[in-house]
């Protein structure tokens, strides 16, 4: 099956784009598809696969057309004729004919010999990456023949790694005597779990034991507790008796102390507090009273020293009134008047100076006697006039400049000139002459060299070589094909001869064996038996007739002979069978030999045609008929080289003639053109040099003419500018006159106005300043007048001069008023202090009386000596009351200590005064407690053990873990077994592949490899290694293993294997298009040419399609592959 058209109807960036792979049918069916990067080569390849196998659900080429709209078409050439197909984006029935009718996928499946997408892609496509990986695969496989043949057949790689990985997985699970395998580890883990399980399981017997231990421990605990409690009880009784004894002693001591205390009832509870507080209050009251009397004395002294000032008070009131007064602007009158007092003189002086200055300036600007008020102009008016005046000045200057420029431009115009007729023609003729190659000498020298080369190239060739070359040289492909065909037929003849020889040898062996067998076995045949029997019968008949001794002897001899023969016949049955078999073998071999002879004759006959072709080729190359075809390529090369050189020399000769002719004609043209310009034949320019000089002069004139034109343009520009400037100036003047109309400066001119504009500004400022100062002086004088009016009365009271200053007046008033107020305040303070001290003295006296009454109440009915200090008496009474309370407490405590005890037992203990009894009882208690603690601990441990045993859940978790482990191990073992089986099957399959394919594929790979490497590696062999074989290459007679080859060589070996695999597939099943994608990128030209040759060979048995983006490979392919079809992707 081959691909004739591939239609990218809606696919990737293509719409209705057809790739035509030609009709095929030539010697070799190779198409090269050339496209720049991103032209669509990968798209085309993907489209082809999609047509064959359907569009994947996620599609990388649906960026223009949606996936459901994608469509690819193709026309396939099949044995049954052309088949037009389409593949659409539909999920069902995506394969249709060109009319859209659904087609059975099996049609394609049959054509593809059952290959699926991956299978086809890996077997029938090749790119640089696959080539590289193929080379690496060879290294990884360490040259294993089976793996390499498989890689070559299917294009699949990665075997070595996968097989090794599988082996590692198996060994990781288990290997004999392995200790760190998964199985060994799991077995150890199983032991641990089993141990834990045994530990965790709560066996009934163990449960009983633990329970019994807990019961025993509880019993011991109860007993120990009882003993401890008894010991404690004994000790408590003893301690109570001790305590009562001690208390009785204390009571006696207290009673003795009480007998010496004063009589009287118990003091109230708060007696201490009340008496203490009362005593303190009396003491404080006396101190406070003394202090108050001292204060009264001091106040009286101060009052006698101070004198009041009522007039000063009055001055203060007047001053307050003055300070509160306001001026007419709302500000404080005092502040205003004070400021005015300080400022008035200076402001008057400033005002006068400003007036004088303004008058002076007005005179300067407008003449003597000019009134500043009449001269001054408002700011906006001044500004407007100045701007207008400046505009007038500027526009006048611009206008003058424009005029000046115009005058200069006119002066530079120069004279008027024109170009003569014929100047253009002369220029063209000289251009044509200049375009010719300069140096004819160089051409002549090149020609000589080429001629020499051609002669050298032709040396060694026959004299008629040129005629042979002209008649047409054969192509390299032709030579190769002829050589190959002849070699093929030679090989076949040799093989047929070898087979015949072997068959004949076998036949001779069989003959010899047969003879030997016959001789050795003394086989008796059936005929012999019949003969001896017949002889016997004959002699018997004779004897019966004659009944003579001699006839009897003869019969006897015949009978014996017959018997002997029969005996030998019976014994030689096996030998007969063997003999019969050998005869049959011999017959078969003889028939074989005949067949071999026939085959040999046929082979020899078939060799005639290629031999004749070779002879014809030899003739075409000028070689003898009997020269070996291997020499043809060299002769062809030599003839091609010689022919190229000769053709090149001839070409160069022609070029030289042409060049000379062209030069002569051009010079003639130049001379004619120059003469035409001068117009006078007597001045005909006789030389090219003169013509060149004329041309130069004409060029200068042309330049001048161009220059004048530019100058005229400039003059026109300046004239226009001048008009514009004049208009602008007139406009500015009109504006200015409008602004100065009706003003005093209307007639003084623009320049004068500009000159005095600064002075006008200054005058306005001075005038304004003078007015301002006038106003301010007026305000200051008003403030002073108002102040004087209000302050007259005050000044009189103070006795000041009328014309005292504001500050002076205020200062005197403040001093006087301040002093008077201070004196009045001091008198008032002293009176208040005295009154306060008197009240305090009286209060403290009353407090002391009340405290004495309290003390008397507390001590009522008590035995106290008169004159006793109250605190001392109090202390004595309190001590008495304390002793009484202590005795009562001790009695109560003694009674409590007897509670809960047997009265008699307690009494007995109280009577027992043994000093060590209590300690002895304490020791007994400690011992009992310690014993109990120990027993309680043991009980806790027993309970803990039982609870732990119950709490583990009885091993259920360990059991589960064990079950999981076993399940994992089961699964891992199954997997390891399956992997081992798979590995065995894979090794067996590779072995089969090796045995099945080695002959044909190895030969084909050897030839392809030799061609790829230019004969550097002429042979490939399979060397036995262990139970397998490995592939080695032979270079310079030395074997090199495939994995020891260089990277590039391994790539070529891989390519050779792929070519062999392809040939093997085609032979077995049939041809399918083989696609390569820029596999020659890393190849140099020689290797690329060899690879192209191989591709051409593949194209003889099936279609080969090459994709490339290298233009030079297209050119090379055209050279190497005759009839190659080229498709350019736009």
């Amino acid at each position: 099956m081959r691909l004739r058209h591939l239609d990218l109807i809606r696919y990737g960036r293509f719409t209705e784009h057809r790739l035509d792979f030609g009709p095929g049918g030539g010697e070799t069916d190779v198409t090269i598809v050339y496209g720049e990067n991103e032209a669509g080569k990968s798209t085309a390849f993907s489209a082809w696969l999609d047509l064959l196998f359907g569009l994947p659900l996620q599609h990388p080429y649906d960026f223009v057309h949606a996936r459901k709209d994608l469509m690819v078409g193709a026309t396939l050439d099949t044995e049954e004729g052309p088949l037009a197909l389409r593949r659409t984006g539909q999920r069902q029935g995506s394969l249709t004919d060109e009319n859209g009718r659904a087609m059975d996928e099996r049609r394609l499946s049959l054509l593809l010999h059952g290959l699926d997408r991956d299978g086809y892609r890996t077997r029938f496509s090749l790119d640089d990456e696959v080539l590289r990986q193929g080379g690496e695969e060879i290294a990884r496989a360490k040259g294993d023949l089976g793996q390499l043949l498989h890689a070559g057949s299917t294009g699949l790689s990665g075997f070595a790694d996968l097989l090794k990985q599988a082996e590692q997985e198996i060994e990781a699970f288990h290997k004999p005597r392995g200790r760190s395998t998964i199985l060994a580890d799991r077995r150890n883990r199983l032991k641990e779990i089993d141990a834990a399980l045994a530990e965790a399981r709560l066996d009934p017997r163990r449960f009983d034991t633990l329970r019994r231990e807990v019961e025993n421990a509880e019993q011991a605990c109860r007993e120990a507790t009882a003993l401890r409690d008894e010991a404690r009880r004994q000790l408590a009784l003893r301690e109570a008796a001790d305590q009562r004894r001690d208390l009785a002693r204390q009571i006696d001591e207290a009673r003795v102390a009480l007998s010496g205390s004063p009589d009287g009832p118990d003091l109230p509870e708060d007696a201490m507090t009340r008496v203490s507080v009362a005593v303190d209050r009396i003491a404080n009251a006396q101190e406070e009273k003394a202090e108050a009397e001292a204060t009264i004395e001091k106040a009286d002294e101060l009052l006698s020293e101070l004198t009041p000032d009522p007039e000063g008070i009055s001055i203060g009131e007047m001053l307050a009134g003055l300070e509160d007064a306001e001026f007419d602007d709302g500000e404080s009158l005092v502040a205003r008047a004070s400021l005015a007092d300080a400022d008035l003189g200076r402001r008057r002086e400033e005002r006068d100076n400003s007036r004088m200055e303004a008058r002076r300036l007005a005179a300067a600007l407008a003449g003597d006697g000019a009134d500043p008020a009449a001269i001054v102009l408002p700011r906006e008016v001044r500004t407007g006039i100045r701007e207008a005046a400046q505009d007038v000045r500027e526009t006048a200057r611009s206008r003058d400049h424009a005029q000046s420029a115009l005058d200069d431009a006119r002066a530079e115009l120069g004279e008027v000139e024109e170009m003569p007729e014929g100047a253009e023609a002369l220029a063209d003729a000289l251009d044509a002459l200049n375009a010719l190659p300069e140096d004819l000498e160089v051409l002549t020298r090149d020609l000589r060299e080429r001629e020499t080369e051609a002669q050298h190239a032709a040396a060694g060739l026959p004299p008629n070589w040129r005629a042979l070359a002209n008649a047409g040289l054969p192509t390299t492909a032709e030579l190769r094909e002829a050589e190959r065909a002849l070699k093929t037929e030679d090989d076949k003849v040799a093989a047929a001869e070898e087979k015949l020889r072997m068959t004949q040898e076998k036949l001779a062996e069989l003959d010899a064996a047969l003879d030997g067998e016959r001789l050795a076995l003394s086989v008796v045949s059936d005929d012999e038996i019949a003969a001896t029997r017949a002889e016997r019968e004959r002699l018997w008949s004779a004897h019966r007739s004659a009944l003579q001794r001699d006839t009897a002897d003869a019969f006897e001899a015949a009978m014996r002979g017959d018997d002997d023969a029969r005996g030998r016949y019976a014994r030689s049955a096996e030998g007969r069978v063997r003999l019969a078999r050998m005869k049959a073998d011999r017959m078969m071999n003889a028939a074989d030999a005949e067949r071999r002879k026939t085959d040999l004759e046929s082979a020899r006959e078939r060799r005639i045609a290629p031999t004749e072709i070779v002879q014809r080729l030899a003739m075409r190359l000028g070689l003898d008929e009997d020269i070996a075809p291997s020499a043809f390529a060299e002769r062809l090369e030599a003839m091609k080289t010689a022919l190229d050189a000769a053709l090149s020399a001839e070409q160069l000769m022609g070029d030289l003639h042409a060049a000379r002719q062209a030069r002569s004609e051009a010079e003639e043209e130049v001379i004619d053109a120059a003469s035409g310009i001068s117009g006078d034949t007597s001045e005909r320019q006789e030389t090219v040099a003169a013509a060149r000089r004329l041309q130069k002069a004409l060029e200068e004139r042309r330049a001048r003419i161009a220059s004048r034109l530019e100058a005229e343009k400039l003059v026109r520009g300046f004239e226009a500018q001048k008009k514009t400037k004049e208009k602008a100036h007139a406009d500015a003047k009109a504006v200015y006159e409008t602004r100065v109309a009706d003003l005093w400066c209307a007639d003084i001119g623009v320049e004068e106005v500009l000159r005095i504009s600064d002075g006008l500004a200054e005058l306005a400022e001075l005038h304004s300043k003078a007015r301002d100062l006038d106003r301010r002086v007026g305000r200051l004088e008003a403030a002073l007048t108002a102040f004087d009016t209000r302050a007259d009365a005050l000044r009189d009271t103070l006795g000041l001069r009328t014309r005292s200053t504001v500050d002076e007046t205020l200062r005197c008033a403040r001093d006087r008023a301040g002093k008077a107020i201070e004196t009045a305040r001091k008198i008032e303070d002293a009176r208040k202090t005295r009154n306060k001290a008197e009240a305090e003295r009286d209060r403290q006296a009353r407090l002391a009386e009340r405290s004495a009454e309290v003390i008397a109440a507390v001590f009522e009915n008590q035995e106290i000596a008169p004159g006793d200090d109250p605190l001392v008496a109090l202390r004595r009474l309190l001590e008495r009351d304390g002793l009484r309370a202590k005795i009562a407490g001790l009695d109560a405590e003694r009674a409590r200590a007897a509670e809960g005890f047997d009265t008699d037992a307690l009494s007995a203990e109280e009577a027992d005064t043994d000093p060590v009894r209590t300690d002895t009882l304490r020791e007994a208690v400690s011992e009992a407690e310690a014993t109990r603690d120990e027993v309680v601990g043991r009980r806790g441990e027993a309970r803990q053990e039982l609870n732990s045993a119950l709490g583990t859940g009885g091993g259920v978790n360990q059991g589960q873990a064990r079950a999981v482990l076993m399940e994992e191990l089961r699964e891992a073992a199954r997997r390891a077994a399956e992997t081992r089986i798979g590995l065995m099957a894979a090794s067996g399959a590779l072995r089969r592949l090796r045995e099945d394919r080695r002959g044909s594929m190895l030969n084909a790979a050897e030839q392809a490899f030799a061609r790829m490497t230019g004969g550097e590696w002429p042979r490939l062999e399979a060397q036995p290694v262990g139970s397998g074989e490995r592939l080695v290459g032979i270079r310079s007679g030395q074997p090199v293993t495939a994995d020891a080859m260089s990277t590039g060589t391994r790539g070529q070996l891989y390519l050779a294997l792929r070519v062999a695999g392809h040939a093997d597939f085609v032979t077995r099943y049939g041809a399918l298009p083989f696609l390569t994608d820029d596999i020659l990128e890393t190849f140099d030209d020689t290797r690329a040419e060899a690879a192209l040759t191989l591709t051409s060979e593949m194209g003889r048995t099936g279609q080969a399609i090459m994709f490339t983006h290298h233009r030079h490979l297209v050119d090379l392919a055209r050279t190497v592959i005759p009839g190659i079809h080229v498709v350019e992707l736009g």
């Binding site: 990665g158 589960q960 076993m966 399940e967 894979a986």
Partner: protein, 397 residues
């Protein structure tokens, strides 16, 4: 009246699945059979049944761990507190168990024996007797009491029935004989797959194992609620299982890449999720070698996909590559050569020799995984799996 019928509890028998090594799952399934027993008691209490019937193999062996006994005693005491009695017969696994070693297991429990085969409750008479030895070759039916007139008669029996496929005969008894004995309901035990048979007014139920323990026990997971009244006898399945084993076929036809495989796996796993029950799934992956990809990658993807689906765990993934039918003209591939090589007698012998060594190295309990009668299956799977790996090894790079 209502009764809850359960059999083959196999208390404390572990779950045999690799999925249990997942810590979340392991925690959830801790003492799974005890949790199922607790669920059983919950159902009995919530349904207000009149009694619970244990039809044999309550324990997994004749020597029960004390903790296992304690677990049963704890749950039975819950029944007792709710006033629900329980009847029990012993099966082939727990035939020799001394239930009364520590005194009565529970005041609520009555063990039916040949000496005391009948327990009466309300209008129902429960008849039963259990195994007295590990193997009982003859039917126990002849020793069962005749049905008591005017009462509902329920038979409790541990039996392999007519000898179901894959089971040795244990107290075999024909269904027809059970139908003909005259009881209203037969509460059977022994076969772990649930089945219901009805004829002549009698209902015979094998409730199945309430919690499957491995992929070989996929058809249980429940107890049976029996309702008997004037309208007849009705049996209803009551789900109890914590974990269900499921075998699922996942079809990868049309898948072109890992994303496609992932989507199919997730779809298949999500379709399995069930309320209140975890799933341990064994996946059979069908497709061409391109569609399946590398089998180890496929298994890893399946486990990862399961992590995203709550309650579903992957026990195992088995690829089942679909080899396209090749005709005589089809190009042969390495797979074909491998199959051809594996079909030779010498190959089988070599496999046997290798497996013998490996088998001997395994613990005895799991040697059956490489038994001789499984060699053909191992060869088939081994060859296909390796062919799949070799076919996808290149295309996956």
């Amino acid at each position: 009246m209502k009764f809850l019928h359960v059999a083959d509890l196999h208390l404390d028998s572990p779950l045999r699945t690799q999925a249990a090594r997942d810590s979340a799952m392991g925690e959830h399934l801790r003492a799974a059979s005890r949790q199922v027993l607790a669920r059983l008691v919950d159902v009995a209490v919530s349904e207000g049944v009149d009694a619970v019937l244990f039809a044999g193999d309550t324990f997994d062996s004749g020597v029960a761990d004390v903790a296992s006994r304690a677990a049963l005693a704890t749950e039975l005491s819950r029944l007792a507190r709710s006033g629900i009695p329980a009847m029990l017969i012993q099966g082939n696994h727990d035939a020799l168990l001394d239930l009364d070693r520590y005194g009565p297991v529970s005041e609520a429990l009555t063990v039916l024996t040949p000496d005391a085969p009948t327990f009466r409750i309300g209008d129902a008479s429960i008849h039963g007797m259990g195994f007295t030895a590990k193997h009982m070759a003859e039917s126990l039916l002849p020793r069962y009491p005749q049905p008591e007139p005017g009462r509902w008669n329920i038979g409790l029996m541990h039996t392999s029935l007519d000898g179901a496929a894959g089971h040795d005969p244990y107290a075999p008894c024909a269904l027809a004989d059970l139908f003909g004995h005259g009881y209203d309901y037969w509460a059977l035990g022994h076969i772990h797959k649930r089945s219901v048979h009805e004829a002549e007014g009698t209902l015979v139920v094998m409730p199945g194992i309430p919690q499957g323990r491995s992929i070989r026990e996929t058809d249980g997971g429940s107890a049976t609620l029996l309702e008997i009244d004037l309208q007849g006898v009705r049996a209803r399945k009551i789900p109890l299982e914590l974990l269900r084993f499921t075998r699922v076929l996942v079809d990868f036809t049309g898948v072109a890449d890992q994303a496609g495989r992932d989507a199919r796996l997730r779809m298949a796993l999500e379709a399995m999720t069930g309320a209140d029950v975890m799933i341990a799934a064994r996946l059979d992956a069908a497709g061409s070698h391109t569609e399946l990809g590398d089998p180890r990658m496929l298994e890893a993807q399946a486990r990862e996909a399961a992590e995203a689906v709550a309650g579903v765990f992957v026990d195992r993934v088995r690829p089942r590559p679909v080899t396209p039918a090749l005709d005589a003209e089809a190009a042969e591939d390495l797979g074909s050569l491998m199959r051809a090589d594996a079909a030779t007698p010498g190959f089988r012998d070599e496999v046997q020799a290798h497996l013998e060594e490996l088998r001997a190295a395994l613990p005895s309990e799991i040697r059956d995984v490489l038994a001789e009668d499984r060699i053909d299956e191992l060869i088939e799977v081994g060859v296909e799996t390796m062919a799949l790996r070799l076919a996808t090894g290149r295309s996956e790079q």
